[in-house]
């Protein structure tokens, strides 16, 4: 058997390789960064320009007039500040509470077939998506008389978000040491008391994660309010923006840009907050 030998690289070769590696890294990083940043550039400058156009140009002069006009537009503001908020917070509260209760039950009560339920949940929620089920959901909301209402939108969003929310909360509940609840039981607390005094405070971080995630999903959601709402007064910002850039003409372009910026801001801030507080971790490998 021959001994395979490799001549070690010379000093010059190593240096060259190092420099090449560094250059590749910087060039590669720049390309990646450019790929992600370029499409967004226009959105960062257009809101501040009074000229309504689509090309990338530094505003001259920089102006906040667009934002003023946004605030003057009653429909836009109501959509953003009232409707999106109502639907977002409504769904957030509903999803967080029901998911936590269900996750607690799945974890702490010996419900027969928890594995089957979990897998079933994953299965069905992957199959019955908002887009595939838009017809029956629409018909059902009509039947319930909830068409064109905030409640209808909130309920549908909650239904769609729950499976994933329960999944996420289940992880958090499982990590509470059982001795905590057992010692409370021994101390004389009833099941409900144990849940409220001991379990709930400990899973609060998880509830925050689920809450923020649910809020962001609803805040950015388009299809559901699009098909369930008719009255312009109830439209959330997502539908409002869509109607601005498809129906209205070019004159509104930079106005819409300003509006979009305002609309995106809460999501960006929430992301930064969650990232700072908890880091952007993966829960069970599924984070949507």
């Amino acid at each position: 058997m021959t001994r395979a030998t490799r001549t070690p690289p010379s000093q010059a070769q190593r240096a060259a390789r190092f420099v090449l590696g560094r250059i590749t890294f910087y060039v590669g990083s720049s390309l990646f960064a450019a790929f992600f940043v370029l499409p967004l550039l226009w959105l960062t400058v257009a809101p501040f320009s009074t000229l309504a156009n689509l090309d990338l140009r530094l505003p001259d002069p920089w102006s906040l007039q667009n934002f003023e006009r946004v605030f003057e537009n009653g429909f836009a503001i109501r959509a953003l500040v009232q409707n999106s908020m109502i639907q977002g917070f409504g769904a957030m509260l509903l999803v967080t509470l029901t998911a936590t209760l269900a996750a607690y039950a799945l974890s702490r009560a010996n419900i027969p077939g928890t594995t089957a339920i979990t897998y079933g949940l994953v299965l069905f929620s992957s199959v019955v998506t908002g887009t595939a089920a838009m017809v029956p959901i629409f018909l059902m909301i009509v039947q319930l008389g909830l068409i064109d209402t905030h409640l209808g939108v909130i309920l549908v969003f909650t239904g769609g978000l729950l499976p994933a929310a329960v999944f996420i909360m289940r992880d958090f509940v499982d990590s509470i040491p059982r001795s905590y609840e057992e010692s409370a039981m021994v101390a004389g607390a009833s099941s409900w008391r144990v849940f409220r005094d001991i379990a709930l405070p400990i899973v609060r971080p998880g509830m925050m994660v689920v809450g923020v995630w649910a809020f962001v999903q609803v805040w950015g959601g388009f299809l559901i309010p699009f098909i369930l709402l008719r009255d312009a007064d109830k439209m959330p910002a997502s539908v409002a923006i869509y109607s601005f850039y498809t129906e209205a003409g070019t004159p509104l372009i930079t106005l819409t840009a300003a509006y979009s910026l305002l609309y995106t801001l809460p999501v960006l801030l929430l992301y930064l907050f969650v990232n700072w507080r908890y880091g952007f971790r993966f829960f069970g490998g599924i984070k949507s």
């Binding site: 960064a33 018909l139 490998g285 599924i286």
Partner: protein, 301 residues
């Protein structure tokens, strides 16, 4: 070991009730309802709104009518478009790019990695409508950012949304969703014990050999998981609607948009339900593959 449950069964059932109601109402019920509606000729207005008639497999037959199947604007064409869309943007695009990013920044943490990751994530979490609007401006034929840059280098500047709609939508979707695979692969790579790679280093393996012989086999299950999930999500996404509305001339009408058009522009609920049903069956296929993979993963873990 089975421990005494902390919640009694009745209390547990009570806790699950609210979630249970929602899930039954918004996931189980639609599943069965859609089957029912798809066999009728129900519409929003007119005689068939009040008295939908049972038409058997009529709706399905019309969907798969061989004579018109692949015509523009028909279901077959939509399936074809969706197939290309999913294959290029999800499987090749997002997964590949995500892996490339994760590998590129593997063991090279620092402010550059942080910045690129953050931007990718921002692209992922920004609301659908804003992103679509930004790309609408980006791809604009006359003066959009992309054409400004291409023009600067003397490259052709097509009217992207009109001339190359499907390509635009595919690239858009890649841009949008890469962050997910990037994060997934990043954590998968991070989970490989460093000693495995160090051993390879000591033995003299090149970077490419290391990637091919050690890393890829070890994260294979993650790759498959990512592919299935991304495929499922991409298949069901409605976002292209916000960019092109399915056009021009139905050239970017993925199945989700086709469903919407059938149901809500012509208000043919029966047909819309049939399409939805087909979508669900396809989803079911993906989901079952995913579940069986989860099971095998759990068992070998």
């Amino acid at each position: 070991m089975q421990r005494r449950p902390i919640l009694s069964l009745p209390t547990g059932a009570l806790f699950m009730l609210p979630a249970g109601i929602f899930i039954v109402a918004f996931i189980l019920l639609p599943f069965f309802w859609i089957a029912a509606v798809s066999f009728t000729n129900r519409t929003l207005t007119g005689r068939t709104a009040v008295n939908p008639e049972f038409v058997g497999l009529d709706n399905y037959l019309r969907l798969f009518d061989a004579s018109r199947f692949l015509n523009s604007g028909e279901f077959g064409a939509s399936l074809l478009i969706t197939g290309q869309f999913v294959f290029f943007s999800a499987i090749i695009g997002q997964a590949f790019l995500g892996l490339a990013l994760a590998w590129f920044f593997f063991n090279r943490k620092g402010w550059i990695q942080n910045t690129v990751t953050t931007i990718a994530i921002i692209a992922w979490i920004m609301p659908d409508v804003v992103v679509a609007f930004a790309w609408f401006a980006f791809l604009n034929g006359d003066g959009g950012t992309l054409n400004q840059i291409l023009g600067f280098f003397g490259l052709p500047t097509p009217d992207w949304l009109l001339d190359l709609p499907l390509v635009s939508v595919i690239i858009f979707n890649i841009w949008r969703g890469t962050a997910f695979s990037m994060l997934l692969f990043s954590s998968a790579l991070g989970a490989i014990p460093p000693s495995y790679l160090e051993t390879a280093n000591v033995v003299g393996a090149s970077t490419w050999q290391r990637l091919r012989d050690i890393i890829l086999p070890m994260i294979r299950s993650h790759i498959v998981t990512a592919l299935i999930l991304i495929t499922l999500w991409t298949f069901n996404t409605f976002t292209p609607f916000l960019l092109t509305g399915g056009g021009p001339s139905y050239q970017t009408e993925v199945v989700s948009i086709y469903t919407y058009r059938t149901a809500f522009q012509f208000f043919r609920f029966g047909s819309g339900a049939a399409v939805g049903m087909v979508m669900m069956i396809i989803n079911l296929g993906f989901a079952l593959v995913y579940l069986s993979l989860l099971r095998t993963q759990r068992r070998s873990a």
